[in-house]
Symmetry: C2
Subunit: 346 residues, 2 copies
C-alpha cells in the first residue's frame, strides 16, 4: 500500500467515524452505550519516527525502525484510541514500516514525508548494566527543518502526547490544538542544556511532565525527588511523572504520591524506547478512558509500566509489533501480584 492509498484509506475511515460520531450525538442517551466503541477518543502523538542502530551485550542491529512517536504509537495502539502521528521522515523510510503503523490504527496524515530528505537516525551502544549508553551517532536530517502540522480532524483531540523533541516544535503543536483536556510532555536533559528557556515555556503549558530522575534533579536543582517534583509543579504541570527505569516510576500530584515498579525481568534485551512505550501506555489508557483524575492516572502508570516491560524483551519495536491484548492482560496480573498486599490498617 502506498502512502497515498494509506491516506485515502484513512480519510475514508475518518468519514465513517464522523458519520458514526454524528449518529452517536443524535442518539446519545444512556440506552446506547455500545455506540461508544465507534467514537474512539483522539490522541495526538508528536515525536520522532526514525531509524535506530542499536548495540547491546546481546547483539547489534543495522538500521531498524525507531523513534519516540513510533514507540508511543505502538504502545497506545493497545487501547481503543484514534491516534494520529505528527512527525517527519525522509524518502529512505520504508513502506513496510508505514504499512505496519497504519495497520496498528495510527493515522499518518500528519506524518510528513520529505522525499529528497533522509530520516532521523540515532545509533547507540548500551553498557553491560543496560542502565547507561553511549550515543554513537545522531543525524537530525529531515528533523532539522521539521514544521509539525496537526491534521484538521485531530485538532479537537482530548489528549496530546508531546514526545521528546525540540521544545519549540512541541510548542508549535500545542498552539494548533483546540483546548485539549490533557497535554503530556516528555523531554530530556539535552533540551535543558541547550534550550532551557524554550523548554520552560512549554512546561508552563502542560498538565503532565514525564522525565527521568536525573532530569528531574537537573530541572529543579533539587536532589530529593519529592522536593524536585514539588518545584517542577510550580513551573506549570499539575502532575509530575518521574521515570526511574528498572526502578519504576513515581507519580506526583499535589501532596500525593504513587509508585509503580518496573516488572523485574530475567532478561532485558534492549532498553531502547522503554520510556516512550511507557508514555504511550500512559496516554493511550487516559485517552481511552477519558478520565483524568489522580486515581485513573495511577492505573495509567501501571499500564505504562506494564507495556514498557514488553518493549525491552526484544530489539527495537519487534516485541511491541507482535504484542497482543491477551499478553498485556496476563502481565497486568503479574503486576498485581507483584505489588498488591493486604494489611489491616489502624
Amino acid at each position: 500500500m502506498k502512502p497515498s492509498s494509506i491516506l485515502s484509506f484513512q480519510k475514508l475511515n475518518e468519514s465513517i467515524r464522523s458519520f458514526l460520531v454524528n449518529l452517536q450525538l443524535k442518539f446519545k442517551t444512556k440506552r446506547y452505550p455500545t455506540f461508544r466503541a465507534f467514537t474512539m477518543s483522539k490522541l495526538v502523538i508528536v515525536g520522532t519516527v526514525a531509524f535506530d542502530a542499536i548495540e547491546t551485550p546481546f547483539g547489534k542491529t543495522d538500521k531498524i525502525l525507531g523513534g519516540a512517536a513510533t514507540y508511543i504509537g505502538l504502545s497506545a495502539a493497545q487501547f481503543d484510541t484514534d491516534s494520529a502521528i505528527v512527525s517527519v521522515v525522509g524518502g529512505d523510510f520504508l513502506q513496510k514500516d508505514l504499512d505496519m503503523m497504519a495497520g496498528k490504527g495510527m493515522n499518518l496524515e500528519g506524518l510528513e514525508i520529505v522525499k529528497e530528505g533522509k530520516s532521523f537516525f540515532w545509533s547507540g551502544k548500551y553498557h553491560n548494566d543496560m542502565n547507561s549508553r553511549d550515543t554513537l551517532a545522531t543525524e537530525l536530517n529531515v528533523l532539522e527543518t521539521f514544521n509539525p502540522v496537526v491534521p484538521e480532524a485531530y485538532k479537537d483531540a482530548e489528549v496530546v502526547m508531546l514526545g521528546n523533541l525540540h521544545p519549540m516544535v512541541q510548542m508549535g503543536v500545542i498552539e494548533q490544538m483546540n483546548n485539549p483536556k490533557l497535554v503530556v510532555l516528555d523531554t530530556m536533559n539535552f533540551w535543558m542544556d541547550v534550550a532551557l528557556d524554550d523548554l520552560k515555556k512549554v512546561i508552563a503549558k502542560v498538565d503532565v511532565i514525564t522525565i527521568n530522575d536525573e532530569e528531574a534533579r537537573q530541572l529543579s536543582g533539587e536532589y530529593s525527588l519529592v522536593t524536585a517534583a514539588k518545584k517542577i509543579m510550580t513551573m506549570g504541570p499539575q502532575y509530575v511523572v518521574i521515570k526511574k527505569g528498572e526502578h519504576g516510576a513515581l507519580l506526583f500530584y499535589k501532596d500525593q504520591m504513587f509508585f509503580a515498579p518496573a516488572l523485574p525481568l530475567a532478561e532485558v534485551f534492549d532498553p531502547t524506547g522503554a520510556g516512550d512505550t511507557f508514555a504511550g501506555g500512559f496516554t493511550g489508557y487516559l485517552a481511552n478512558t477519558e478520565d483524568y483524575s489522580f486515581n485513573n492516572m495511577k492505573r495509567a502508570i501501571i499500564y505504562g509500566s506494564c507495556l514498557a516491560s514488553f518493549a525491552v524483551e526484544k530489539f527495537g519495536t519487534e516485541r511491541m509489533e507482535s504484542l497482543t491484548r491477551i499478553e498485556v492482560d496476563q502481565r497486568l496480573h503479574q503486576f498485581k501480584s507483584l505489588t498488591q498486599y493486604d494489611i489491616k490498617l489502624n
Copy 2:
C-alpha cells in the same frame, strides 16, 4: 539501672512470663484468647552492638550508639515480641544505652560485656547522593573474640535474625537453637570476599536471606536480579529478599515475586542502619504474627520498608528511639496510598 539489676529484672519478667505461659497452657481454649498477649513470641537477634561515627552532607556525629543488632532490636520493638540480643560490647559501652535497650523490651542476657575490652567501632562518610559511602574506620575490638551465647530461655525462639557478622558466628547461633521455624540471614559483600565457604554453609541452613542488589549479583554471578534470586534459592533459602535502598525491596519465593518501594522522602538525613531496621521490622512482624506464609512475608516486607523510612530521618538511632506505634500506623497509610491501585483485570 545497672546491668545486674536489668538482668534480675529480666529474670523476674521471665518468671512472670513462664507462669503466664503455664497458665495459658493449662487454660488453652478458644475462650481465653486474651492470654495470647502475655505469651509473646520470642525473637533472637544476633549482630553488632557498637559505636558509630557518621558524617553526611547534613553534619557529623561523635561516637554514637550503633550496630546491626541495635537497629534490628529497636525496629522489632515496635511489635509485641520478646526479643533477645546476642552480642558483645566493651567496658566503654554506656549504661544509658543499655537502659534504653532494656527499656524497649530487649532481653540483654545474651549481651556479653567485656569490661576490659572496647566496643566495636565503625566510622563512615556518606557521599552527596547518600547512596554510597566510604568507611573511615573499622575497629573490631571485642568482636574479634566474640563467642555468641544464646540465653537458655531463648533457645526455643521461633524466629532468629542473624544480623551481619562473620558467618561462623552466625552458624554458632544456629547450632544453639532448638529447631526454630524461621531463620533469617543478613550478610554483606565483605564476607563473600573473605569467607565465602563459611558463608555458603550458613546460607544452606537459613530460610530467608536479605542482601542488597550488588551483593545478590556477586553471590550468584548473575546480573538480572530475577535470575540471581533463583540461583541463590538453590543454595538453601526458600525466600530471597533483595534490598535496593531508596529503590525498595524485592521478595522472591519459588516463581513468585513481591515488591515494596521505599517511601520517597523529602530529606534523607543518615542512611546508617536502614537495612538493619528493615530486617528488624521484617522479623519483628513475622515473630509477632507467627505466620511464615508468602502472603504474610509480603506484609512483613511492607512493615520493614515502613520502619526503615523512619530510621533515615535523623542521625543514628535517634528517630527509632522516639518512634511511636501511632506514627508507624500513619506511615503505613502513606505506604498504602503510595502503592495501591484498583484495576479491573480480564
